[in-house]
Structures are given as C-alpha cells and as structure tokens.
C-alpha cells in the first residue's frame, strides 16, 4: 500500500470512528485518542518545548475534541480538525515555562564515539527546539505543521484559518528567522 493509499485508508477509519462515537460508542473516542495522541503531543511539544506543558496541552486538546465531536460533520478530515483544535489550544496557552525535562539515555554498552555523537546530536536538537520555541507563534505553528507533520500548504492554511499565500509567507519567515536565531546562538527575539 502506498503512502497516499495508507493516508486515505486512515482518514476513512477516522471517519468511521467518529460516526461510531456519534452513535454513542465511547470506546470509539478512546481509539481516536490512541491513534492521534502521539502526533498531537509532538506538535504541542515542539510548540512549548517541554514535556509537562505538552502533556497538559494534549489533554486539553482531546477534551475540547470530545466536547465538539458531536458537532463534527466531516467537512475536513478528523486529523485536520484535530490539528486545528491543537493549534488554537497552543496559541491560547500561556505556559508557566517549566524547565525542559532532558531525555534519559542508557549508554551502557555504547562506544565512546557513539556517545559523543549522540550528545552532539542531542545538543543540536536542543538548540534547535529552543530556537523554534522562540519564533513568533504563528510562524512557529506553521513551521511545525509543515516540517514535522508534513501537511500540505493548503492544509496548513486551513488549520491556521488563513490563505495559502499567508501560510507560505509565514513559513518563509519562520525558516529565515530560525537560521538567524541559530547563527546568533538564539539571542533575543527575531
């Protein structure tokens, strides 16, 4: 099965689950959560750059989805609809800026070069996430949706409630600002 066939099948399964929930099967919503919680978590994590806030956001996003799903008529795919809720939740979220929780690695058995390489990569990733989290909110969200969630420009525009041209312009500024931030060692706002 090709990537696009899989995606279409997945959209169909989501639609069936939504209908099942609307008929009164609460378990269908649990399944939707299982299918989408990772993507929503990653989007939120990239936005707030820490695990605790991302976890809270995931809960908030799915509670909002639960409240709204009876009114969901399938004008867009469930995932696009969910992204839209996630984006709005992120944009209205005022974080307490908890310190980022660093990943734990069990390096037992790894050789020194691997460990150094991994530390360097982790450090690069950390700096980049930090830089992303400093982008203006709409640029940040656009970058996250496009780069990490592989949405089409039209879908990004739909999720953001804007035009394709504006979505592209936001992404352009996000990318150039990101490069500038990393060159400056993330000093100051873009």
């Amino acid at each position: 099965m090709s990537h696009s066939e899989k995606a279409t099948a997945s959209v169909g399964e989501d639609a069936a689950l939504v209908k099942a929930y609307q008929r009164g099967e609460r378990e269908a919503f649990d399944t939707l959560f299982e299918r989408h919680q990772r993507n929503v978590y990653r989007l939120c994590y990239r936005f707030v750059n820490n695990h605790e806030d991302a976890s809270d956001l995931v809960q908030e996003v799915f509670i909002k989805a639960y409240r709204g799903i009876l009114r969901f008529r399938g004008d867009s795919s469930f995932s696009t609809w969910l992204y839209r809720i996630a984006v709005n939740t992120c944009l209205s979220y005022r974080s307490l800026r908890r310190p980022a929780m660093e990943e734990f690695h069990d390096d037992k058995g790894a050789n020194a070069n691997d460990v150094i390489e991994r530390i360097e990569k982790d450090e690069r990733s950390r700096q980049l996430r930090e830089a992303v989290s400093r982008l203006p909110e709409r640029q940040r969200i656009t970058l996250i949706l496009k780069v990490y969630h592989d949405l089409k420009h039209a879908d990004v525009a739909h999720v953001m409630g804007t035009t394709i041209g504006t979505a592209k312009a936001n992404l352009f500024h996000a990318l150039t600002n990101l490069k500038r931030l990393l060159e400056k060692g993330q000093g100051g706002a873009p």
Binding site: R38, S55, Q59, I63, E102, L128, K168, F172
Partner: protein, 179 residues
C-alpha cells in the same frame, strides 16, 4: 533594469524545490538579496528537519490515556448533570406555565360550556315561531312570572339542596294546578 524582488511565497517555493526556478533564474542571477533570502530559507529548512524531540517512554502513553479517561468520565458526569438540570428547569417551567394558564383555560372551558348550553337551547324553535307561546301567555300573567323568576334566581343561590328540592316540588305542584 532589475525586475521586482521575489515574493516570500516565490522565495519559499524556490527554497523547498526547484519550482519557479526557470522564470526567476534571471532575477536570482542579478539580485544578491533574493539569492540570500532563498538560501537562508533553504538552510532553515535543513536545520529544522534535522531535529528530534525526546520520545516519552511507552508507559507515558498509557498513563496519558488513563488521565484522559478520568477527564472524560468527569466530563460525562458534568454532561449528565447539565442534562438533568435542563430537564428539571424545563419541567419547572412547564409546571409554572400550567399554574399560570390553568385558570384561564378553566375560565374558557366554562364559557364554552355556557355557549354549548345556548346552542342546545337554540335547537328549540325560535320564540316567535313557538306555537305554545301564545298558550302560555294566556295561562300566565307575564309580569308576575317575570317577578317570580327574578326572586327565585336570587333565592335559589342561597338555598340548601333540600330547600331547592322542596321549592322545586312546590313549583311543579303550582304549575300543575295552573294547567
């Protein structure tokens, strides 16, 4: 003469793919500003792609699901409560409406009954067409009958059932005698 600078959209398309390269090639050749813009966007893209986020432990997803389950249970309980409150409020509103409107409807019902009795009487021949009227007129002094009717009307209202029975009996006897 230099053509106009590329729009952000065009610069992005060029940074992410070769789209639009042909038509913008000439401008890019002569414009350092746009060349830099495209290059920075392309570098930004490469940097952005090459980054991971820490993956939570598998246990986290399970814990997250349980946490949401509790939130949704609470949400369901709130929904049920709201439904009951709405039902109770609706029932109270209906009862209040009934309490306010019942006397009006009862009054209307009385009027309807009055109308019905008039209709029933109207089935009788009209007074002018009633052949027995001249006979009754001959038998009774109309003015006296009218006076008795008024008097009886005000008396019957305060008579007990037993008194009504006695008076009615006497009237029947009197009427029988007159005939």
């Amino acid at each position: 003469m230099k053509s106009r600078h590329l729009s952000d959209e065009q610069a992005l398309d060029l940074a992410m793919s070769e789209a639009g390269l042909d038509e913008n090639h000439a401008h890019l050749e002569e414009c350092d500003v746009c060349r830099d813009r495209v290059r920075h966007a392309r570098d930004g893209w490469r940097l952005a792609v090459d980054t991971d986020i820490p993956e939570p432990s598998p246990l986290y997803w399970e814990a997250s699901k349980r946490r949401l389950g509790r939130e949704l249970d609470a949400e369901d309980a709130r929904r049920r409560q709201r439904r009951w409150l709405t039902l109770a409020a609706t029932a109270a509103a209906i009862l209040a409406t009934i309490a306010i409107l019942a006397p009006v409807f009862v009054g209307l019902g009385r009027d309807q009954r009055a109308e019905t009795s008039v209709d029933a009487w109207s089935a009788l021949p009209r007074v002018e067409d009633d052949p027995s009227l001249p006979m009754i007129e001959r038998m009774l002094d109309v003015e006296t009958e009218h006076a008795i009717g008024c008097c009886l009307g005000s008396c019957v209202l305060v008579l007990s059932d037993e008194e009504v029975r006695v008076v009615s009996e006497s009237l029947r006897v009197e009427m029988g005698r007159s005939l």
